[in-house]
Symmetry: C2
Subunit: 495 residues, 2 copies
């Protein structure tokens, strides 16, 4: 009775979350420019309703009643996840929630204008407020849960993740990657860029064709256009987006395949547990592992590109071709280009973790009080100079102002990207070990071999285990760097 009522309550919350997911997708993809205020109010009201239903005393009572019942293992985890949500929802005082919401909206809006102007001074005060309030929030969460403040923030994005788990792997990556970047760049082979323009309709047709080949279910999902690619919606209506560059079809193609990785995860979540916390995807790190497994491990590799090349040629050119720039060996080189750049979202897979590690070090120092907001630009420049040899002195727009995260209060989010890359490599290594002839299957477009394996071991398990435990289960080893580094050495021909 307690359990059933709790389940029913979270089905209602799930319906509100469905509405929120769809309205957010619509805002990014469909909404007219002048409708933002009303949409913002509606999103705030629905978010408030989710919070009210979650934090209500009744939820806690139902959790206690349910926990005393005879539950199956998934139900038991569901109850504990709901208890965790309940504690979290009640931990932060309402006036702090409100203050933080106002501060982050204001700061994010200022940032949107100031980034283009390279105007750091415009955002310092706002960011100061956001960091202070986020620290307060982290302390409140930490007190309620008995953990460290930064760990309380990490938990928002990847449940149960801790700094203790991150530090050793990030230390190791930070130490070895700069030399690997040098090495990879020195060995970088010559390659030729297929010449465009490539009409958007054809690029879109290519994206759809590859999504369908991989196994994306278009009866429960869509592909559209937005300013930044993302995967939105929910497991029963999974909507991915991309953007198109008429002069480089590889950008949209790999963006679509990346988001398709996210989408395959969503579409593979356990059907019987939709709308219940235990049936949701694991945290952001595990989610990113599925997009990176798709993009980096599978689709940028030779077997996939050999499979895709004729489809690419037919869709973009109307027919297959012998022109050398369109052949798999050239496309494989294009897909593995390494470049030292300022911008995280444009980074390749070797330099990407260095961007993340810098942000991780700075945001933990900010939260610990070891770094002041005013000191960020100098610390950023030092970090970028040391790891990638790039000076960001006076270049805020391509430096500490490039990402929205901190200005929007998303502290604790960045580590997920690189943990996801490590998980992707480690899970894919296990898949290749466990699936006979996987490379051959990819080369021939037989993707169910991989996805059946992933659905059984990862997608179909929702969040019945913390992601790090799940990865250890699936791969037989706790998360480390060796699969990732091994993958880089192989792909980039490093010592």
């Amino acid at each position: 009775m307690g359990y059933d009522a709790l389940h029913e309550r979270f089905a209602r919350i799930g319906d509100l979350n469905h509405a929120l997911a769809m309205l957010s997708w619509d805002e990014a993809v469909m909404m007219p420019t002048g409708s933002g205020t009303v949409r913002g109010e509606a999103l705030a009201t629905l978010t408030g309703m989710v919070h009210e239903l979650t934090a209500a005393p009744e939820t806690g009572e139902l959790v206690d009643a349910a926990a005393a019942e005879d539950l199956d293992p998934w139900q038991a985890v569901n109850v504990e996840k709901i208890r965790h949500d309940w504690v979290t929802a009640r931990a932060v005082p309402a006036d702090l929630v409100r203050a933080l919401s106002l501060a982050t909206s204001a700061c994010e809006q200022t940032w949107r204008g100031a980034r283009g102007e390279n105007d750091w001074s415009a955002v310092v005060d706002g960011l100061h407020t956001v960091v202070d309030l986020t620290r307060e929030r982290a302390q409140a969460l930490a007190a309620a849960r008995g953990c460290e403040p930064y760990d309380a923030l990490l938990d928002n994005y990847e449940p149960a993740l801790t700094r203790t788990a991150i530090d050793p792997v990030f230390d190791e990556l930070g130490a070895v990657l700069p030399d690997m970047v040098d090495d990879a760049m020195a060995r970088q082979p010559m390659c030729a860029l297929p010449r465009g323009p490539f009409p958007i309709e054809r690029q879109e047709a290519l994206g759809r064709a590859l999504m369908a080949e991989v196994g994306f279910d278009f009866e429960r999902g869509r592909l559209d256009v937005s300013h930044h690619p993302f995967c939105g919606g929910d497991p029963d209506d999974t909507r991915i987006t991309t953007r198109y560059n008429e002069h480089d079809f590889l950008e949209s193609m790999f963006a679509v395949l990346h988001e398709t990785g996210h989408a395959m995860y969503e579409q593979g979540l356990p059907k019987g547990w939709r709308n219940q916390p235990v049936g949701h995807a694991g945290g952001m790190a595990l989610h990113e592992s599925q997009s990176l497994l798709m993009e980096m491990q599978v689709c940028r590799g030779a077997p996939f590109i050999e499979f895709a090349a004729p489809i690419i040629q037919r869709t973009l050119l109307g027919a297959e071709t012998d022109a050398p720039e369109w052949q798999p060996d050239n496309l494989v080189k294009l897909a593995a280009k390494v470049e030292r750049g300022f911008i995280r979202v444009d980074a390749d897979e070797i330099t990407y973790p260095l961007h993340v590690i810098l942000r991780y070090r700075l945001e933990t120092a900010l939260l610990d009080g070891d770094l002041a907001v005013a000191e960020i630009p100098d610390a950023w420049n030092e970090g970028m100079s040391a790891s990638l040899g790039l000076s960001t002195v006076g270049n805020f727009a391509d430096g500490c102002m490039q990402d929205v995260h901190w200005f929007a209060g998303l502290i604790g989010y960045f580590p997920s990207y690189t943990l996801g890359a490590l998980m992707a490599a480690q899970i894919f290594r296990a898949a290749r070990d466990g699936i006979e002839g996987l490379d051959e299957a990819v080369r021939e477009g037989r993707f169910p071999l991989l996805f059946d394996w992933l659905r059984e071991r990862v997608h179909g398990r929702g969040s019945v285990k913390p992601s790090l435990e799940l990865v250890a289960d699936v791969t037989g080893a706790r998360l480390g760097t060796d699969a990732f580094l091994g993958h880089l050495r192989t792909r980039y021909g490093l010592g």
Copy 2:
């Protein structure tokens, strides 16, 4: 205090309604085919939340407290409208609401399959249940509000509308229109059909161009494609749809202009009262009057077609033309074609009311118990034979099974279409009397002259008055048939 709390409560309800409007639009326009079940559940949950918040005892207490405060006239009407919603929401027992919801879903689904099969026997039992439960619901509403049962149903679609108001005008139209149809068909001039195909992109460009000319605000609205044209969303994000026939551009053009009429009304509602009942559009009849004023009174008339012809030619053909079938005089004839047909939604403006009157007579008889569900096909055939000379014996698909309304439990809705046509004619006559040079302005594309007039007198007044009173206010006369019949005589050259 009571008023402010009530206002705030309905702002929350308004945000839920925004979500419902957007999710419904998405369902018709964007949603993948396999996502219907989840969407249906989410819509049901949000609808249930709106009902709970409306029907809660607290709402009634706040209404009583607010009514005792010193309110401005709009606030006072808002409180009374909320009281009316509260009484309505509480009038029908929860198990009857549930039974009716189940019965209408089941019956509508059966109808969707059975219509194509012309299988009346498949739907009789379901419709019987729907009619019985609707009668029960009407009685419960009537008891709570002290009115007649059918009037209680009318009120759902057009507040305060009564059978007493409808009967004399429908009697008169039913008596005179059949002869007018004969007369108009006898005088129908020859006209030539511009030959297609007309690519959908060009038809869409034409629709957008005319919407923009008329004054549709694309910063707060969209045009898309759906199975049936509709106007959805809300005043701050008004989304209309159409469908395209490659061989007849006039279909989509007039459908877009019709929906633009609805949209101009939504976009013109009083901004300070968004989300409050008094700020909503009047009922379905007044809403239809605004789409029909646009389509029938303005856009199918010679001044508009003279204005639009060069735009039509340039957009569809790439340049203006002297070809006779593209000239205004021919397009005007095409826009005023009269035809006796089985299908209401395809009917012209002279025959349309005859379709509606038949449904009105049958549904009032059903509700009164004077007609059994099993007798509908015979009664339909009699009605169609008498008014349009068409036999529907054995032809259920094009007869009593053509519309979803009754099968979906929408009894009391049909009269709105024809009352809307009468209102449109009467309001437009008042506009022509009141606005110097209106025809000339339309011919020159100066639409603000008309819409400023409508915004002041109709759109901007929300539902501060019952629609029939508003129409009387605006036109100086209670709603009658003479403006409509006068319009028909002029347009179709009748005695």
